[in-house]
Symmetry: C2
Subunit: 362 residues, 2 copies
């Protein structure tokens, strides 16, 4: 562990005072120093392979060039690409990402948040926003720099990089209708998250837009974005509204839960029933069958979230922008024409405005 060269060493070699060397090294203060000494200091620094100590600098400046990234769980395949996007964009700007997982535990989230603040992170990218999120609200009020990723709070106070959830869901519904499906089910994600609620609303709105072309539009809630929760929701759906010919998962994992239950029941996808996801996670094209899903550009979402944050660090008074990236439908093998079972049945009930409750059939 050879000795590390410090600012003092550089100053000595350049024959100047450490304070002067500091100014010469820092691009922002370089103008207060003669061209001759700047060069001498720069040469000395290069010769000694000087690297400023980020710890000492942080202690002095209260900044760290580190961004805290708070996610539910890196093990969820949608997040790694987003993390790479964040890291790549931050690195260009000389920042580093420090990633933490909350496992959807608010206590753990607060602990992480505090720990990262203690480490003097300059801002946060938050992938865990709930529609009502006191911790985030308070942090924003306290002037902590935040950008939300993919999910947002209901109030518009915090900037965010998002995808067009409603547009994506509309494409999915349109695709089903074009294939002749008239009885659709949506396995909604958690409604305390913007993605869950927005996609659900968009599902209902899109169905309504099709008027008589749709005979039934069912929403069943999935209490988590997970395969198990998706499986439970699917079982519930099969018991309560067995006539649906297409299942639109709140995300890909929920759709995978549907895959599992349908396989157990011996129902073939897409012959007996079509299934759609949301997110286009890596490798869903390899599934059995390849999953038709709404593509969410996670990597770019990460890049944009990082950029929004950097912009904000540069100019803290900039407005809290919300950047919305387009989504698109990727049609694969899990959707097909509505044949067999309820495909051509006559309408049982018209489509009312909105569901009475989470499990209502509309």
């Amino acid at each position: 562990m050879g000795r590390v060269t410090t600012l003092k060493d550089v100053a000595r070699l350049a024959g100047v005072h450490p304070g002067t060397a500091s100014k010469a090294l820092n691009p922002r203060t370089r103008k207060d120093v003669s061209a001759r000494t700047v060069e001498a200091v720069l040469n000395a620094a290069r010769e000694l392979g000087y690297l400023p100590d980020p710890i000492a600098r942080s202690l002095r400046t209260k900044r760290s060039n580190v961004i805290g990234v708070i996610l539910p769980d890196i093990t969820n395949p949608v997040f790694p690409p987003a993390v790479r996007g964040i890291e790549d964009a931050l690195r260009e700007a000389g920042y580093t990402a420090l990633v933490g997982n909350t496992d959807n535990d608010p206590g753990r989230e607060e602990e992480l948040f505090r720990a990262m603040q203690g480490r003097r992170v300059d801002g946060f990218i938050i992938g865990t926003a709930r529609r009502d999120h006191p911790l985030l609200r308070k942090a924003a009020e306290d002037g902590i720099q935040l950008v939300q990723l993919n999910r947002v709070t209901d109030d518009q106070a915090i900037p965010a990089a998002l995808v067009d959830d409603a547009g994506g869901m509309r494409l999915a519904v349109d695709h089903c209708v074009a294939l002749g499906h008239r009885r659709l089910a949506h396995l909604a994600g958690p409604l305390d998250m913007s993605t869950g609620e927005h996609r659900r609303q968009a599902f209902l709105a899109a169905c309504e837009r099709h008027g008589d072309a749709i005979e039934e539009a069912v929403v069943v809630n999935s209490d988590a974005y997970s395969v198990d929760a998706g499986a439970r929701a699917t079982e519930h759906l099969l018991q309560t509204a067995a006539g649906c010919t297409a299942i639109l998962g709140g995300n890909d994992l929920i759709a995978l839960g549907a895959y599992r239950v349908l396989a157990e029941r011996g129902m073939a996808i897409p012959k007996d029933i079509s299934v759609l996801g949301f997110n286009d996670m890596p490798f869903v094209d390899m599934f059995q069958p390849p999953l038709t899903t709404v593509h969410v550009p996670q990597y770019h979402l990460g890049v944009e979230a990082a950029r929004l944050l950097l912009e904000r660090l540069d100019n803290p008074d900039a407005p809290a922008k919300r950047l919305v990236l387009p989504s698109r439908l990727v049609v694969r093998g899990s959707t097909g024409p509505a044949t067999g079972r309820g495909g051509r049945r006559r309408s049982v009930s018209p489509v009312p405005r909105a569901p009475k409750d989470a499990h209502s059939s509309v």
Copy 2:
């Protein structure tokens, strides 16, 4: 951003000197301080919600309670579980993981390594080891604390948490033989990595063990652990040794490359040909068909790597242990009896000791 309470505040409230407060707070030096003052200081700290500033502490102690984790690419599905294992184990001990991706670029790796050293990380968990790895060798010589994850250098100087690659490959070969396959192909991972070389050697050794039961054992190199590289290797295999009835991928991604090429050629898995992977990545059970593969307990590998490192930080002179976890075969739908094509052909060539070169057919 309300003012943060500092050690000085605690000392003032407790009516002691900051230095004394520091001793009282630090469990290791607490014995040098009277029970009465310890209590006063602890109470004051609790009352003020005091949290020590890790930056200041790091500057002073040259330690950070941060561990650098260096991976090829978090986007590779095998890594997120390992990262979670690392994080969970570190957190219990009051440490934090700082993760970086090299994209297999040695320059980038060195840059990351330096940057993390600058941040005073207390040690590294390395998921990027190559069999010959000067950077690691030098770091170890310099007394930097390292633990390797899943892959190792050829020399035994650096501790590691590993899986029994050879045992796993043997299980895979035995499985194929039990199904009646007599012409096997291995799509070896990069041979400059221990996993690539060890699995390849184990493949050949296992085939040899079966003697006349195996008519042909082919090795084709894949130049990366990726789907594309696996696809290229598969194409090469199909041109040069078309009679094989089972393909053993160097890892799951390589096996997926085989899936792709075989699908393009209209060959059915496992009817026409069996395919096996290595790693048991998340969701390979959902593939088309579900992948038979050697399970590698990535999460536990992460936990054990973290523990090895913590142990070493505690006792830097402890020997450089290598911990080897067992692997096991997970049989799914991509392997089946050897029927059709070359399945029952007679031996063309006996099995020699070892391959002449990377693409040799033995």
